[in-house]
Amino acid sequence: MAILAAINPALTAGWHQPDTRDMGRDTGWRLKDYEARGGYQALKKIVTDKFSQDQVIAEVKASVLRGRGGAGFPTGLKWSFMPKGAPEKYIVCNTDEGEPGTFKDRDLMRLDPHAVIEGMVIAAFAVGAVRGYNYIHGEIYELYQRFEEALAEARAAGYLGSNILGSGFDFDLFAHQGYGAYICGEESALLESIEGKKGQPRFKPPFPAQVGLYGKPTTINNTETFASIPYILRQGGQAFLDLGKPNNGGTKLFSVSGHVNKPGNYEVPMGTPFAKLLEMCGGMRGGRKLKAVIPGGSSAPVLPGHIMMDCTLDYDSIAKAGSMLGSGAVIVMDETVCMVKSLERLSWFYYEESCGQCTPCREGTGWLYKMVHRIEHGQGRPEDLDLLDDVAKNIMGRTICALGDAAALPVRSFVQHFRDEFAYHIEHKKCLVPPDIQRAGSTFHTRLMAGATC
């Protein structure tokens, strides 16, 4: 994939369009290309103008950059939590991108790995870290190898290692590979995983800024968050903020998947109307009607299409509508979709990926899946809908990490907004959306396969 369109791009300006199939033919990601589009200028500016650590953090605070991994926590504030003076501190990048619907970090790593490196070096300078790791999703091993090449280039050019650009500041950075566990996208599970253990989340507090990797103070941010840093230091925090809207600084990558004509990544300013994004995606596939949108990755509550059409793409607008901007993964579903079947697949995912540490999540995700499964397969009971909500409610807030909530929120929102469809399934033991209409929903399906609907 690639960036298919952008408005006022801060992150993707100057990117080369890749071959959609052959990553080996990608161009524009190497050091010389990055430098040609202004890369490492931010780092040079910090060194030449002798920025203090506090000045860098102040600039990031002024940008109102909010964590792009999903939680939306203000980045500058997070950095300021790091204790001064501790001798051993770490910077960690979370590229364990496995939230269904999210595929922006893959493009960042593919087409602009040096922006991630530069962002991490600046972060390391700001918090006083001497070592960093980028934890890379196991399934993108080809990009893990590319990142290692980029690291070697940066080291050779003096952007990494000891006495960076003659500043007296030392920092080295390494790639760490994941190997197929969604839970490692949770920051404390990710730290456990770097330590060579099962990725099971830790109790918080203490937060990573106090007790992080190897028990040392650690700042952990998402890939896109780090990639946004060079622009902020180059152009100023205010300039980044001005790209977006108050309390929602900058532009953001939105990964659009599902029933649009052109699925892919789009960079747009925060606050852009959803309707505009949909238009940039070439509209709905086959001109069909928009039914529902999951606006922030599979863990975000689903919204009916007509509610989403009134939203703008920023943390506040989508929260007001009852969902979350999350990681900016916009999953678009048209009228051919069976909501029960869709929820069944998502519930399976959370059941499969629960780390098993907390009883409400380990058992509850299984119960949720089994109930949605039986409704989908014509064995649902009238009391199931209230029971589903009850089980989901009893998982929420009772687990160490957010995976429990992430499993419960889709269930509650699907049932809340599409209750009629679930009730129809239970009563009639079949789907409200006729099979032939469902068959039209998948391009692969209509071209080749028959059958296999509800």
């Binding site: 399934e139 993108i140 998947s257 692969f444 080749l448 296999a452």
Partner: protein, 157 residues
């Protein structure tokens, strides 16, 4: 038990971490061991644990926790298809059905000639490229239409 080249790869990973944190390299080490031997036997996991100076049980916990490790023999080509919701909306499930039909196997099965194993995968972070498949945990293939699947199968000699 492992070749010089694999051990060299493991040593390179070990060097990324503080000297007292060799265990941090276990995920990469198990990956390299699996790449060389095809799958992770108990003995192999034990060998990796010993090499990194960690308890065998701790390495076994890692090998069983992460989905991409194979604890049983698999075919020469392991094809993993993402069927999660965003991929399914763009044909992921039907792409998997096509591979099943073509190879005559279901998920978690291996063809009688030992050439192909088919796995159902979870999100690979490439939903915009759906249908998406991962070959031997390394090579990601995008936009897997029937023609592309035919091509992929033909390439797997």
């Amino acid at each position: 038990m492992l070749s010089e080249a694999t051990l060299k790869n493991i040593d390179r990973e070990v060097a990324k971490y503080p000297p007292e944190q060799k265990q941090s390299a276990v995920m990469a080490a198990l990956h390299f061991a699996q790449t060389e031997k095809g799958w992770l036997s108990r003995d192999l996991i034990g060998y990796v644990a010993q090499y990194l100076g960690m308890p065998e049980m701790a390495a076994y916990e890692v090998a069983t926790f992460y989905n991409m490790y194979d604890l049983k023999p698999v075919g020469k080509y392991k094809i993993t298809v993402c069927t999660n919701l965003p991929c399914a909306l763009s044909g992921g499930v039907h792409a998997a059905d096509y591979v099943k039909q073509k190879l005559g196997i279901d998920f978690n099965e291996t063809t009688p000639d030992g050439k192909f194993t088919l796995k159902e995968g979870e999100c690979m972070g490439a939903c915009g490229d759906a249908p998406v498949m991962l070959v031997n945990n390394v090579h990601m293939r995008s936009f897997m239409t029937p023609e592309e699947i035919d091509k992929l199968i033909a390439e797997c000699k």
